[in-house]
């Protein structure tokens, strides 16, 4: 399989002074994500992208690749510097901030991407809810309809992006203009965006290990 998994990682970020090295389960967010990727890909296919020497040591310990990036790059520039650093047809970008995106989801996503010969696939949570945006109704009118009939809205979960490397570099974007969607459930869609999310996600780990969820 000609793909590379890229995991961007930072020692510090906005929501936690330990960044992607914040404790999670009995490890860290970064190592948690590496473990999920190892269940899906060969060690040689996994790349950690960071400016941190501590993270470099973790990559070495985990026997995965490390892409040293310049300090101070924007997220976007960092992603494209990382993509340029790998030599595969397809890029799978995953984030440590989506800890409940398990390996099976990545595997199913890549299978769909290949089978349907897609250029770009992203993980989304489909919501059939009544949305308001800009002080106005977003997906319904005054002629109210039941929730089942409202136009669905897809939330980019920031959990996984798959794209052709050349297309990503051409567009300088990790999405094509018309990406395909891969729907994940509300649990897998969990994204850590602040300290509260982080604390909640840590406590939700017990649910992650329940295999008998009625879904």
């Amino acid at each position: 399989m000609s793909f590379a998994i890229i995991i961007p990682a930072q020692e510090k970020n906005r929501y936690n002074e330990l960044g992607d090295l914040a404790p999670f389960g009995n490890t860290t967010l970064l190592e948690w994500k590496i473990a999920q990727c190892k269940e899906f890909a060969e060690l040689s296919q996994i790349y950690i992208s960071s400016d941190s020497d501590i993270i470099k040591d973790i990559a070495q310990k985990e026997e995965v690749n490390f892409i040293k990036r310049k300090t101070g790059l924007s997220y976007k520039d960092m992603v494209f510097a990382s993509i340029e650093g790998v030599n595969t047809n397809d890029i799978i970008l995953v984030n440590t901030t989506s800890p409940f995106m398990k390996s099976k989801i990545y595997k199913d996503m890549y299978t769909k991407y290949q089978n349907e010969k897609l250029n770009s696939l992203i993980s989304v949570e489909k919501k059939k809810e009544y949305f308001f945006y800009n002080k106005d109704k977003l997906n319904f009118s005054d002629n109210f309809v039941s929730r089942e009939k409202v136009e669905p809205v897809y939330i980019d979960t920031n959990g996984c992006y798959i794209i052709k490397k050349d297309l990503a570099l051409d567009r300088q974007n990790i999405l094509s203009s018309n990406p395909s969607f891969f729907e994940v459930d509300s649990f897998a869609a969990t994204e850590i965006k602040d300290v509260k999310d982080y604390k909640l996600a840590r406590e939700m780990i017990t649910i992650f290990f329940q295999d008998d969820l009625n879904v």
Binding site: E129, Y130, F131, L138, V153, Y154, I155, L200
Partner: protein
């Protein structure tokens, strides 16, 4: 006439989760949990369970709240449109104001109900700034529909999520309006509702098994203690 009647709509059928409305929850089930919570709110002077299920109506009777038996045409989600269901249920109630509050939002506290009534009194009944109240969950994430991104642009104009404008979705936790208006609109909020934000935990809305597990988790962790 009652000032505030809380209506708990429950039906026997549930497509994605069997017997969802009476799923085990805490020390009882979702329906009993909701009745118990509403009983703690002194401002609510009437509670009615509206259902086609004799089993659920019996549970309501045992909890000493009123019942409204709905015929199957108002519960099968096919025969009657949703608006007709709201109108039908509201017409059966003798109350100035209706609080429409499904059991699928089991983590809303009595304190939040009280707060919602205070806000409703001020902005809907006194100041007439809004015509109804509904609870929402605010969030900032990148969203799409079938036509493309809705709240951001791809390429150079892409914004960090923190800079996105706030989005809201209606979480179906609490909906309050004058009874006559609900009948007129055939709906549980009007065109100009007050959007009362709830945090993620209170916003939990149970649709499927995953949602139920998450709700149980939140309940054990944050509510029951």
């Amino acid at each position: 006439m009652y000032k505030y009647t809380a209506i708990i709509p429950v039906r026997a059928g549930s497509r994605r989760l069997k017997d969802k409305n009476i799923s085990k929850f805490g020390k009882s089930n979702l329906l009993e949990n909701k009745i118990d919570m509403l009983k703690k709110v002194n401002s609510i002077d009437n509670i009615i369970v509206s259902s086609d299920s004799d089993k659920m109506l019996e549970m309501a009777i045992k909890k000493n709240v009123k019942t409204h038996k709905r015929t199957s045409e108002y519960c099968d989600e096919k025969t009657q449109p949703f608006g007709a269901v709201v109108k039908h249920v509201c017409e059966a109630v003798d109350s100035e104001n209706i609080i429409w509050t499904p059991v699928t939002a089991p983590l809303i506290s009595s304190k939040t109900y009280l707060k919602s009534l205070d806000i409703y009194e001020k902005y809907v009944l006194s100041d007439n700034v809004h015509d109804s109240l509904m609870t929402v969950e605010p969030f900032k994430r990148y969203i799409w529909n079938e036509n493309g991104p809705i709240n951001y642009e791809l390429g150079l104009k892409h914004l960090p999520s923190q800079e996105l404008k706030e989005l809201y979705f209606v979480n179906d936790g609490i909906l309050i309006a004058p009874r006559k208006k609900m009948i007129e609109w055939s709906y549980f909020h009007g065109p100009n509702p007050y959007k009362m934000p709830l945090d993620r935990i209170e916003s939990t809305d149970i649709d499927d098994g995953i949602d139920l597990e998450l709700a149980k988790f939140y309940y054990e962790k944050y509510v029951s203690k």
